[in-house]
C-alpha cells in the first residue's frame, strides 16, 4: 500500500461520512405561532411527534407573544426576506394575507406536493371561512373556535335555575335571579365585537357589512348599525341595573372573571375549555349562544381563532416537508387530541366522529357544544365569513364606541352609527392601501 492509495481511501472515507451527515441533517422548517400558555405545550407535542416520525425535516416552533405581535414579527421578517415557513394568524387577518402576495395557498401546496386531502371531509363552516371568493382554501384551519355560553352550575342551582338560557331575554331574567342570589357579576363577555356584533348578526343571518360581509369585494361597507342596535340597547339596560359587567377590551378578563366565580355567565371562546376544566372550582356547563326569541331559527355561528399560513420564498424541498407536516396535523388522531387538549374545534368530520365514538362527550359535554352550534341550521350566502381590512383598527373603534354605551355617554344607536362611520373610513383607507392588488386568487 502506498501513500497515494491510503490518501485516496481516506478521502473516500471522509466523503462517505460527509454525505451521511448531509443526509442526516434535517431541513429546519420555521413555524411561528402566538404564545397562548398551555396551548403551546399541546402544539409542541404534535410537532415533536412529527419530527420523530421522519428524519428529513425538523419543524421548529417559536412562540411570539400575542396574535398581533406574531403577525407583526412575521411582516417585519417578510419585508427583510427572513420570513418563517409557517405562521399562525388570526382569522380576521385573512383578507390582509390574501392580498399580500406573500402566501402560498394551502390547497395549491397540497396538490403540488402530492398530499391527497379530501377537503369535503372538513367541517364546512370552518373550512369555508378560509376560502377565497373563488373557493380556494388559503390557509389550514387549525386553532378555530367559536363563542359559546359558559355558565356556573353551582350559581344556577343557588338561584333556582335548572337549565341554561336559550334566548337573550332569558339571559336578562337569569341575570336578575343570579344577582339576587348574590353574584356580583351575573353576565359578562369576552371579545365583545366578535360576540355582540359579528356573531349576533351571523346567527340571525343579518349582514355585518355589504358585499357578503366583504367576501365579494374591497368596497364593502359596514351596515351593522341596522342589525344589532336593539341587542346593544338591551345590554346597555343590563349595564345600568348591574346585570352585565363590562370586562374590558379583547378577551382580557372574561375567563378569570368566570373561573374565580365572580361572573356566573360569560360568552367567550370555546377554546377556553383547557383553563376552565383545569381551574374552575365549581361545576361548570357550556351552552350554545343565546338567540332572539321568536326570530328565525338560528344559523351556524362565526368562527374565530387561528389558521396556519404557508409563506412564499422558500425552496421546493422545504415545501415538500411543509405539505407533509400540514397533512400530519390534519390527521384524525392529531385533530382529536388537539381538540381534547385545548377546546379548539376538530377541523375534520373524521376527527369529530372519532372523538364522539370514544364516548368522550358523555364525560365532557361542554366540548361538543361549539361543534353542534356550528352545525346547526344552514349557512346562507351571507353567513360564511367576515372578510374585511384593517381588523385591528375597526375592532378597536367598535370597542371604544361600546364603551361610550356602557358608560351611558351615548345611546346604542348613536354609538353604532358613529362606529359604522369611523369603520367605513378605515375600510376605505385599507382599500386604497391595497389598490392595484391582483384579485385574491
Amino acid at each position: 500500500m502506498n501513500v497515494k492509495s491510503i490518501a485516496r481511501a481516506f478521502i473516500g472515507l471522509v466523503s462517505v461520512i460527509a454525505s451521511a451527515f448531509a443526509a442526516a441533517a434535517p431541513i429546519d422548517l420555521q413555524f411561528w405561532h402566538p404564545a397562548l400558555g398551555s396551548v403551546d405545550a399541546a402544539l409542541k407535542k404534535h410537532v415533536d411527534a412529527f419530527n420523530a416520525s421522519q428524519s428529513e425535516y425538523r419543524v421548529v416552533p417559536t412562540a411570539h407573544g400575542t396574535y398581533d405581535e406574531t403577525f407583526n414579527a412575521m411582516i417585519a421578517a417578510y419585508r427583510s426576506g427572513k420570513q418563517p415557513h409557517l405562521v399562525t394568524a388570526i382569522g380576521q387577518e385573512t383578507l390582509t394575507l390574501q392580498l399580500s402576495g406573500a402566501v402560498y395557498p394551502v390547497q395549491d401546496l397540497m396538490v403540488d406536493f402530492g398530499q391527497k386531502v379530501d377537503w369535503s371531509r372538513y367541517i364546512q363552516p370552518i373550512v369555508s371561512y378560509y376560502k377565497s371568493k373563488e373557493g380556494k382554501l388559503m390557509s389550514l384551519p387549525f386553532s378555530a373556535s367559536t363563542p359559546i355560553l359558559w355558565y356556573n352550575k353551582d350559581a344556577f342551582s343557588k338561584a333556582g335555575l335548572t337549565r341554561p338560557p336559550e334566548t337573550w331575554d332569558e339571559v336578562g331574567d337569569y341575570a336578575t335571579k343570579l344577582r339576587a342570589a348574590g353574584y356580583p357579576c351575573a353576565y359578562g363577555s369576552g371579545w365583545q365585537q366578535w360576540v355582540h356584533v359579528d356573531n349576533y348578526a351571523f346567527m340571525q343571518d343579518l349582514p355585518v357589512a355589504t358585499q357578503r360581509n366583504g367576501m365579494d369585494g374591497l368596497n364593502a361597507e359596514f351596515v351593522y348599525n341596522r342589525s344589532i342596535v336593539k341587542h346593544i340597547a338591551q345590554i346597555q339596560s343590563w349595564v345600568k341595573d348591574g346585570r352585565y359587567e363590562y370586562l374590558g377590551r379583547q378577551s382580557s378578563s372574561a375567563i378569570p372573571a368566570f373561573i374565580s366565580g365572580r361572573c356566573a355567565m360569560v360568552t367567550t371562546s370555546s377554546a377556553n375549555f383547557g383553563s376552565v376544566s383545569r381551574d374552575a372550582k365549581f361545576a361548570y356547563g357550556a351552552a350554545m349562544m343565546p338567540i332572539e326569541a321568536g326570530g328565525k331559527a338560528a344559523g351556524p355561528s362565526l368562527i374565530g381563532g387561528g389558521s396556519i399560513w404557508v409563506l412564499k420564498g422558500h425552496k421546493p424541498a422545504d415545501y415538500k416537508g411543509l405539505a407533509a407536516f400540514l397533512a400530519y396535523l390534519s390527521s384524525p388522531d392529531v385533530q382529536a387530541t388537539w381538540h381534547k387538549d385545548t377546546g379548539y374545534l376538530p377541523s375534520t368530520q373524521d376527527a369529530y366522529d372519532k372523538v364522539k365514538l370514544s364516548g368522550y362527550y358523555n364525560e365532557f359535554p361542554a366540548q361538543e357544544i361549539a361543534i353542534k352550534q356550528l352545525l346547526r341550521g344552514t349557512a346562507t350566502k351571507e353567513s360564511v365569513a367576515v372578510r374585511l381590512g384593517s381588523p385591528i383598527q375597526y375592532v378597536a373603534v367598535i370597542e371604544e364606541e361600546l364603551e361610550f354605551v356602557w358608560s351611558n355617554k351615548k345611546t346604542a344607536q348613536e354609538a353604532m352609527d358613529e362606529s359604522v362611520k369611523r369603520g367605513n373610513e378605515i375600510l376605505r383607507r385599507f382599500q386604497r392601501q391595497n389598490a392595484g392588488a391582483g384579485s385574491a386568487k
Binding site: D68, N72, I75, Y78, R79, T96, L99, S100, G101, A102, Y246, L247, G248, R249, Q250, S253, P256, A257, S260, R262, S390, I392, Q393, A396, E399, E400, E403, F404, W406, S407, K409, R422, R429, R432, Q433, N434, A435, G436, A437
Partner: protein
C-alpha cells in the same frame, strides 16, 4: 465668556477617522429611521410594503382633522403634565429624605433605583395585577375597604390616574438619582452658614437648595417631558389600550397602535413626524425661556 476650542489642523485625517464610528452609529440608528419615517409619512402603503402611493400631505391632514386626534392631544397634555409633576416631586422628596439619612443610605438608594430597570410593558403588567377591577388586589381594597367605586375599565379619570401612576413610578428612580447627586454637590458650608444665620429647613430649601438645584431640575424637566411623550406606549398598551372611550389614547400610543399593531405605516409615520416636531418645538421653548431662570454655578 471665553469659549475654549481645540483645533486639529495638523490631524484632520485622524480626527475624521476617530469620528467615523460615532457618526456611523448616529446615521444608521437615528438619521436613517427618521428619514424613513419622513418618507413613509407621504405614502399610503399596504402592510407588506408591496404597493405604495404618494399622497402628498394627505396623511397629515387626515390625522389633524380627526376629532379623535384632537382628543389625543388633550389627553397627552393632561398625561404629560401629571406624570412629569408627580415623578419629579416624588423623586425630589425621596432624594431630600435619603440625603438626610445617616445610616443605610446605600441600601435605600439601591431600592429606589430599582424600578428604573423594569421594562414599561412589565411595569404595566405589574400595575394591572394591582389595579385591575376584576382581579386586582388594590382594586379590591379600594372597592371594599375605602368605598371608592374603582373602575378604570369604564371611568376615564380612573384609567388616566392609573397610567400616570405607572408611568411616574418608573421615572421616579431616574429623577431621584439626579436630584440626589445635585444635593450632594451643594457645599455643606453654605447650608451650615445659613443655619447659623437662623434659617430653618424650609427657608434653607427655598433660598439655597432649590436655586442651586435648578440646573438639575431643568435637565430633568426636559428629559421627563420627552419620556412622557415618547416612551410610555408600552404602559398604555398593557394597562388600558387607550380606553375607555379614548380617555388614555395619548399621541405616542396612537403612533404605536396604528403603526405597530394595525400596520398603517403612512398614518403612523405622519403622526410620529408631528410628535417629533412638537417635542422639538417644546424643547427649544424650554431652552429659550425656562433656562433663563436657571443658575449655573460658575
Amino acid at each position: 465668556m471665553k469659549i475654549k476650542r481645540v483645533h486639529f489642523d495638523r490631524f484632520t485625517g485622524t480626527a475624521v477617522l476617530l469620528l467615523v464610528p460615532q457618526l456611523a452609529v448616529l446615521a444608521i440608528f437615528v438619521l436613517l429611521p427618521a428619514v424613513e419615517a419622513l418618507v413613509q409619512a407621504f405614502l399610503i402603503s399596504d402592510p407588506f410594503g408591496q404597493r405604495s402611493h404618494f399622497v402628498w400631505f394627505e396623511n397629515f391632514t387626515t390625522v389633524l382633522t380627526s376629532p379623535q386626534y384632537h382628543n389625543s392631544i388633550l389627553r397627552t397634555l393632561i398625561f404629560t403634565v401629571s406624570t412629569t409633576t408627580l415623578s419629579m416631586v416624588a423623586g425630589l422628596i425621596f432624594a431630600l429624605l435619603v440625603d438626610h439619612m445617616r445610616r443605610g443610605k446605600a441600601a435605600y438608594r439601591m431600592l429606589v433605583i430599582w424600578p428604573y430597570a423594569v421594562a414599561p410593558v412589565v411595569a404595566g403588567a405589574l400595575w394591572l395585577f394591582l389595579f385591575d377591577p376584576i382581579y386586582g388586589t388594590l382594586a379590591f381594597m379600594l372597592n371594599h375597604g375605602w368605598g371608592v367605586k374603582w373602575n378604570p375599565l369604564l371611568n376615564g379619570t380612573h384609567a388616566m390616574a392609573l397610567i400616570v401612576i405607572a408611568a411616574a413610578w418608573k421615572q421616579v428612580s431616574y429623577n431621584f438619582v439626579f436630584f440626589l447627586a445635585g444635593l450632594q454637590g451643594i457645599p455643606k458650608s453654605l447650608i451650615e452658614a445659613s443655619a447659623i444665620d437662623g434659617a430653618g429647613p424650609v427657608r434653607r430649601f427655598a433660598t439655597i437648595i432649590w436655586p442651586l438645584l435648578s440646573p438639575v431640575t431643568f435637565f430633568l424637566l426636559v428629559l421627563n417631558i420627552v419620556y412622557a411623550f415618547f416612551d410610555t406606549f408600552g404602559i398604555v398598551h398593557s394597562l388600558t389600550r387607550g380606553g375607555p372611550t379614548g380617555a388614555t389614547d395619548i399621541l405616542v400610543y396612537k403612533v404605536f397602535a396604528d403603526g405597530f399593531l394595525a400596520h398603517d405605516l403612512g398614518s403612523s409615520s405622519a403622526q410620529s413626524v408631528i410628535l417629533m416636531m412638537a417635542v422639538v418645538a417644546l424643547t427649544v421653548f424650554q431652552f429659550r425661556y425656562v433656562e433663563r431662570r436657571v443658575t449655573y454655578a460658575s
